[in-house]
């Protein structure tokens, strides 16, 4: 099952215009947007799609209060769609949609879709640090800081985190039925899962949670590096948005993170520089606690510099 990763997340909500503004301010590119909804794309064409929560075309959410209505994953080729359809038809309905994709539901009630991947290949250097002794450097006279007028754009839909009422059942579905691998695990919480056609540390993270939490904790797009991610997060706060956690760097997956409140009844993260793993990787199992979650944690500050008139204790007063 060469599932290549997430392609599209579909949300239904009450304030389509507010969500459209939010996604545009986050850096996604509006495509085919109207008053009733639209599609907001990263550089590679992966996207968030929004619609009004009353739109009858939306699949049902897994639980009341969850605004995620469908998670669409990509596959390498059409034969994989056929294989997934045959596998899932053993015990559930699978729809063929007019666009050639298939739609079903996972063992936690989340609507899932699969399509031959529409990810557009692109070539755009990521962040390169000029490290003494290193072998890869920025070209001479190329600048590391992102100028105030330079746009920052998310590159690719990264991962989604589900709250599920039965985490063992949820994991078994993705591993046994769809060929995902567990790359790492928080003990007594849940697994990080990687689909068979991707090297990213995870496309899914499952958290066992009480039924009233059933839904989404967060989702995120990859940015070009920590500088791009933090520049974008800083600008997002300047636009008035509310940070929740970060910036910091996770340990499992190594991704830089910054989480924000969102109109999607979950957080929306910005991430960068996630580890890549293959089948030779041995999953770690760690206890869930702050020290195991992040290598360091920082917090937004208004810009400041030393000089005349500074407080007696400096910036850390």
């Amino acid at each position: 099952m060469r599932i290549t990763g997430l392609e599209t997340l579909l949300f239904g909500l009450d304030d389509v215009a507010g969500a459209a503004r939010y996604l545009t301010d986050y850096g996604l590119e509006p495509a085919r947007v109207s008053e009733t909804g639209g599609r907001f794309e990263a550089i590679d064409g992966t996207a968030v799609v929004i619609a009004h929560q009353g739109d009858p075309r939306l699949p049902a959410p897994p639980a009341p209060g969850c605004r995620l209505r469908k998670t669409v994953m990509g596959v390498a080729e059409a034969s994989v769609l056929d294989a997934i359809e045959a596998e899932l038809r053993r015990d559930r309905e699978v729809k063929r949609l007019p666009d050639g994709s298939i739609e079903s539901v996972d063992d936690s009630g989340f609507a899932i879709g699969f399509q031959v991947s529409i990810r557009k290949p692109f070539s755009l250097a990521g962040e390169i640090s000029n490290a003494p002794g290193g072998s890869v450097f920025r070209p001479v006279n190329h600048l590391g800081a992102i100028g105030p007028d330079a746009a920052v754009r998310p590159r690719s839909l990264s991962h989604i985190v589900y709250f599920v009422p039965d985490v063992l059942k949820a994991e078994a579905f993705y591993v046994n039925r769809l060929g995902f691998r567990c790359t790492d695990r928080f003990a007594n919480v849940g697994p990080f899962l990687q689909p068979g056609g991707s090297l990213d540390h995870h496309s899914h993270f499952l958290i066992g949670a009480p039924p009233f939490m059933h839904g989404v904790e967060h989702f995120t797009f990859h940015f070009g590096g920590p500088t791009a991610m933090m520049t974008n997060g800083y600008r997002f706060i300047d636009k008035g948005y509310q940070a929740f956690w970060g910036p910091g760097r996770h340990i499992l997956g190594s991704n830089w993170f910054w989480y924000f409140n969102s109109p999607f009844a979950c957080h929306m993260e910005m991430d960068a520089d996630m580890d890549l793993h293959d089948a030779s990787w041995t999953p770690r199992v760690v206890d869930l606690k702050a020290d195991n979650s992040q290598t360091f944690l920082l917090k937004f500050r208004k810009k400041w510099m030393p000089g005349p008139g500074i407080p007696e204790n400096g910036d850390y007063a």
């Binding site: 939010y22 948005y241 929740f244 409140n261 969102s262 957080h267």
Partner: protein, 112 residues
């Protein structure tokens, strides 16, 4: 009891919310909502995880202005009582902040 003025009470329209940072913490820690003509002030801290609740500056309500929403995990609260009616803190309540309107028409929070 010390009364700390936040803003002219008339600046908060029916069905609207506004956040305040009276202690200069660098982000809003209280918010006020006007419902059925009554302005109530709440701590900007979701009973679920204590998280700041706004989507963006002053963004504490749903599209219709009928529910207070925590934009961390989508918890919804009744603006009249602060009770959570949907989400991870179902049945729990926002922490109210005592407030008053002074002779100059300023909405004030009362700090012990």
């Amino acid at each position: 009891m010390r009364a700390v003025p936040l803003c002219p009470v008339d600046a908060i329209a029916e069905g609207a919310a506004r956040g305040f940072d009276p202690d200069d913490d660098g982000q809003d820690t209280l918010f006020a909502v006007r419902t059925d003509g009554v302005v109530r002030v709440w701590r900007d801290a979701c009973p679920h995880a204590g998280a700041a609740m706004a989507l963006r500056k002053d963004g504490y309500l749903n599209a219709a202005g009928t529910r207070i929403v925590c934009h961390a995990h989508g918890a919804e609260f009744l603006p009249e009582s602060g009770h959570c009616v949907q989400g991870p803190c179902l049945g729990r309540r926002l922490k109210p902040v005592a407030s008053d309107v002074n002779a100059a028409g300023q909405l004030c929070v009362l700090i012990p």
